[in-house]
C-alpha cells in the first residue's frame, strides 16, 4: 500500500481532477491518494469520480480554503 499526496492547490477546474486521474493510473488497489485542492469544484467532482470508478472516498474536508480528499483505490479490476 502506498500513499500518494497530489497537490493541486492553486489550480482551477479541471486541474485537480486531471491530477487525480493521472495519479490513479499509477496506483494499485489498496493505495491511498490524498488530493489537496483549493478549487471548490473538487468537492462534487471527487465524489462523482469515486462513484463512477468504484473507488472509495474515505474523507473530504475543508480547512482554511484547502480541500483534502482521501481516496482508497479499490475500483481496479485487479
Amino acid at each position: 500500500m502506498t500513499k500518494t499526496v497530489v497537490d493541486s492547490r492553486g489550480t482551477a477546474c479541471p486541474g485537480p481532477i486531471t491530477d487525480l486521474i493521472r495519479a490513479y493510473r499509477k496506483s494499485a488497489n489498496g493505495d491511498i491518494i490524498e488530493l489537496l485542492a483549493t478549487d471548490p469544484g473538487v468537492r462534487a467532482d471527487s465524489k462523482a469520480w469515486c462513484e463512477r470508478t468504484n473507488n472509495e472516498l474515505i474523507s473530504l474536508e475543508e480547512k482554511n480554503g484547502v480541500f483534502t480528499v482521501e481516496i482508497r483505490i479499490s475500483g481496479k479490476k485487479g
Binding site: 490513479y24 493510473r25 470508478t53 475500483g75
Partner: protein, 417 residues
Amino acid sequence: MVNEMKSIAVVGGGAGGLIFANTMAKEMSDDIRSGRLKIRIFDGSVHHEFQPGYLSVAFKGKNPATMRKYLSELVLPDVELIPENCSRVDIDNKYVVTEKTGKKFGFDEVIIATGSRPDYSQIPGLSQANHDFHTSASASAELFKRLEKIRWGRIVTGIAGLPYKCPPSPNESAFLLEEYFVRKKLRKDVKITFITPFLRSYSNETVNSVIEPMLKERNIEIITGFNLESVDPEKELLTSMEGESVPYDTLLLVPPHSGAPIFKGVEYADEDGWIKTDKYDLHVADYENAFAIGDATDLPISKAGVEAHLEAVVVAKNMISQMQGTGERYEFTGRLQCSMETGYHQATFVIGTYDRPIERIQPSLYNYFQKKLMERIYWASLKGGYEWLFKWHFGEDYYRKSGKEKPPMQTPKVQNV
C-alpha cells in the same frame, strides 16, 4: 546593449522556441551582429508542422504538405540553427550536449522548449490499434484515406490518457467525424463513440455546458469516467481499469503525452519529464538562468500554442529588459485560448487566465474564421510577425508588468565549450 559576449541556448525549435529566438533576434539584432550576443536553437527536426492543421488533414482531406515548412526557413538569419536534438541540458554547468555528434555548447541562459509527445508505452495495445490524428500531418493523411473506405461500423474517438496537448482536440475529432459522415450520407451506418476519463464530455463544466448538448444532439455516444487500461487489437476491444469494455471497428484516440525523454530523472523535472516551471516568470526550479516555455512545462494549464507563444514573449521581454537595464519585469498571465471546431463552419474557444475562469462562448462562424485566420498568419507569427495583432487581441492578458526589478545579469562564465 549587452556589454559582454552572452550566449543563449534554445532547446527545441517548435512554436515556443521559434517565437522566443526570433523575437530576441529582431529586438537585439545590433548586439547579435556585433558579436555581443549569440542565440542558438537546437532541434533535430527537418520540418516544423502547424499542429492544429492535423484536424483538417485527418477529417477534411487537406494536403499534409501545406501543414509543414522547413525549420531552417523559420529561423531568422541572426539565429544559429544547430540541426540536432540535445541529449543533455546541464543547467548547473551551463552547457548542452547534442545527440548525434556529442558536441558541447556552453550557454549563459537556456530556454527549454521541447514540447510534448505521445507516450504510447502507457497503454498496451494502443499503438498497434490506433489511427492517430494528433501527432503528425502524414499520420493524419493516412487516417483520412482510411475514413474514405469506411461504410459502416463503430468509430471510437476521445482521450486515452492524461495529459495531452490541445484539450479540445478530441472533442473536435468527434464533431468533425460526425460532419464527415453526414456529408457522405453514411451517418446512420456509422456509430461514433467518444470516451473520456473525465466526468463530462469536456473537462471544464462551462465549456461542457456548451458542447455536451451538441454532441448528444448529433447522436454521438459519450462514455465518461473511462480510464483506458489496454487495447486488444485482435479482438478490437478497449478495456478500462475498472473492467468495462468497449468494442470498436476504428480507433482514433488521443494518446497520453509525456515530456522529452532527456528530462526523465533530472532533478528539475517531475517523474514524467515535465519541467518544474514558475507560473509567472517561467524560470526553471531554482535556477535564474534557465526558463521553460510551452508544452514542456509542468504548469497547471492546457498545453497549447497560445500559451507557448505568450510565454516565449514574456521570457524574451524579461531578457531584453535585463540586458538593456530598463528594470522592467513581465509575467505570464496564464492566458489560454484553444479553438474548438464544432463542425459545419462553427467554432468555440476555451479562454481563461490564472485569475479568470474559463468563459462560456457559443460556437459561431466568426470564431471559425478566427481559427482559420490563425492558419494564415501562423508561419509569419513564428518569426515574430503580427505581434501587434496578438498584443491587441490579448489585451491585458498579453503579459503583466510585475514591477519587481531583477539584479543585472552577472558576467557570463562559459562561452563555447
